[in-house]
């Protein structure tokens, strides 16, 4: 076996997991948690949601702990109107839309990119935004629009792509930006009155870029425990342990909330300064609409004045009618930590990954999709 496998396996040891689970159980008792009044922790990142389900961690954890899935899947929180706009771009003659794969199946108000492609629109899945420049070079007579979806993990690479297009003088490349930023969303979640949350499992990948200090104000001003966590099962259990230590301290009056990093092999306090510089250069903060939640001030990235020429709306007419969400869907409540996917009457019946109704079912990293795939028939 090769090196990386050995390393991953170190973070999947059953005996180490057992030891962590025993400590977690003790801490839950110290925090006074019961099945009726559980400690509730929110994993903000979709990759955590999938990892928790994929490794069957819920089946190992006591019922005095509740893990809730936050709005941490960038595809899921992309508003319906932006999906409609992306489809409108794809249906514009002479346009090629380049996108990350998991946008394909997201339903807009009347169709999806996947259906638009079936109907003949030129939509191409790329693995790196830089690949869309290659498409632009190869199709000088077409406008190539890249769908700018993602959190701070993804947006720096798209910023770098815009800079590369500028350097090269590529006149037929633009982006449709729907970028979201994490700290403002966490602050909003932490500020909900009678908040249902006791702590955040902070996203590991995003934190590599923005640094752990980005959560300081949430921890301090909202007294909300924040622990940055990796994606292997032992990372997650260790993060839960760290959060429960803080929760128990807060509940027994022995301490306050703070930011802790349990993913030190990847995350520093300051983060990736070069990537942050790219973001500052190409984008500027904006208010952003999160599907299922609403507008969160300062929680998005738009192209800055200097790079506004690269905005697809400057090149194409993308006026679409404001669509209406389907009634009955409780995705907003799920992303705010108030409900679980299985609480939704549509879950698994009217709403499935193949015919999703709400945002949390659309992407593989959405909480409803993860529940559907991994926990629907859990023993």
């Amino acid at each position: 076996m090769t090196g990386p496998v050995m390393e991953v396996e170190l973070f999947r040891s059953e005996s180490a997991a057992g030891a962590l689970l025993r400590r977690i159980e003790r801490l839950l008792k110290r925090a006074g948690a019961t099945a009726d009044e559980p400690v509730a922790l929110m994993e903000v990142c979709g990759t955590h949601t999938v990892a928790i389900s994929r490794f069957g961690l819920r089946s190992l954890l006591p019922d005095s702990l509740r893990l809730l899935s936050g709005p941490g899947c960038p595809v899921c929180v992309t508003p319906l109107i932006e999906i409609d706009r992306s489809i409108a771009a794809a249906e514009t003659p002479g346009t090629i839309v380049a996108t990350f794969g998991d946008m394909m199946r997201v339903p807009g108000s009347r169709s999806s990119l996947e259906s638009a492609r079936t109907d003949g629109a030129d939509i191409r899945i790329v693995y790196s935004p830089m690949d869309s420049l290659q498409i632009a070079r190869g199709n000088p007579g077409h406008e190539v629009v890249f769908l700018g979806v993602g959190f701070e993990t993804t947006s720096p690479t798209i910023a770098a792509t815009v800079l590369a297009a500028e350097r090269e003088g590529l006149g037929n490349f633009s982006i449709l930006p729907f970028f979201k930023t994490v700290p403002a969303a966490l602050d909003m979640l932490a500020a909900i009155p009678d908040r249902p949350l006791d702590g955040f499992i902070c996203p590991g990948h995003v934190s590599v870029i923005i640094g752990a200090e980005a959560y300081e104000s949430v921890a301090r001003n909202r007294n909300m425990p924040c622990v940055v966590v990796g994606f292997e099962p032992l990372d997650i259990l260790s993060g839960i342990e760290a959060l429960l230590e803080q929760v128990a301290d807060i509940r027994t009056g022995e301490g306050d909330a703070r930011v802790e990093v349990r993913y030190k092999r990847a995350v520093t306090s300051v983060g990736n300064v070069a990537a942050q510089e790219l973001l500052r250069k190409v984008f500027e903060p904006c208010d952003a609409e999160w599907r299922g939640i609403g507008v969160i001030p300062g929680s998005g990235h738009d192209l800055s004045e200097r790079y506004s020429d690269f905005h697809a709306r400057e090149r194409l007419s993308l006026d679409v009618v404001k669509p209406v969400e389907q009634p009955g869907c409780i995705c907003g409540e799920i992303m705010l930590g108030r409900r679980l996917p299985t609480d939704c009457p549509l879950f698994g019946e009217a709403c499935t990954p193949r015919r999703p109704v709400g945002p949390c079912m659309v992407s593989t990293e959405g909480s409803c999709a993860a529940f559907y795939k991994y926990e629907r028939n859990a023993a």
Binding site: G3, T47, F100, G101, T118, V149, V206, P233, E365, A378
Partner: protein
Amino acid sequence: MGNDDRVKLAHGSGGALMHELIENLIVPRLANPILESLDDSAELPDLGGHKLEGGRVAFTTDSYVVQPLFFPGGDIGKLAVAGTVNDLSMKGATPLYLTLGLIIEEGLKLSVLEEIIDSIAEAAEAAGVSIAAGDTKVVEHGAVGGIVINTAGIGVIPDGVSISAVRAQEGDVVILSGTMGDHETAILVAREELRLDEVIESDCACLNGLVETVLRACPDVHVLRDPTRGGLGTTLNEIVSKSGLGITIREADIPVAGKVRAVCSILGYDPIYMANEGKVIVVVARDAADAVLEAMRSHPLGLEATAIGTVGGKPGVYLRTEVGGLRPIVMLEGVQLPRIC
């Protein structure tokens, strides 16, 4: 399905959507008991009244549309032989004859065609099958991505061998012949030109030799399946949906090559759902499992054969994860798509 619905790429992914298309649209219109068994190959009851002296006839067909045409570990020609040989082998049949249908795009280089036909000849010889009939068509440029190949195959199932998903029994052992995900990962890396330091090779191979070895060790094998499209997860679901039983497998025992695991984890893919073209799932009675494992490990295509789980328990497929959690494995819904963060 409504009147305006159209065929999507996801209908070809081997998952739930494709099963729906086959079972709701295609099979009912062609209804007959041979087709309805929906096994890897059909078992023909007779040949218009003629009977073989020994054994029964197995018959199958498959089309090959892979892009790129050449990839590490194989090419479309080798795949077209191996895929059909393997479909016959999964009934325990000895493959004998294949047909070869070529749909070639205008503009394909003759040197490329030569290379593909040479590869077909080489694979057929290695598997001990003859190409007995063929057909060639040429279509307009851009219609089929270079070339599409169809092969049909015929073989004989020896007396005493009866292999079918419905024969899985409580207490049976589930054995896997080797690593999961090599083929689809190799294709993905080649198609997307992902730049890696190491080459990932497709496992594309004819399995008839390995199956013969297994049947020599234990003629009463219950189920044989090759986890192609939709991977191990989908194939195990097909087995339980026919037998009505449960299967629990242990994640720690499922062999996955380190580089395959690395590529999958970067893209957010699950190796359990990745296609294989040279691996077999063997379901046998518990008391035969050791002999079958030993026989498989003596064959070059079964060196990493491992018992990964057992038949029994609650209906459905379940996975005991490396850290000891339990989760259900459902049939893949559509194509796996790379994730965004």
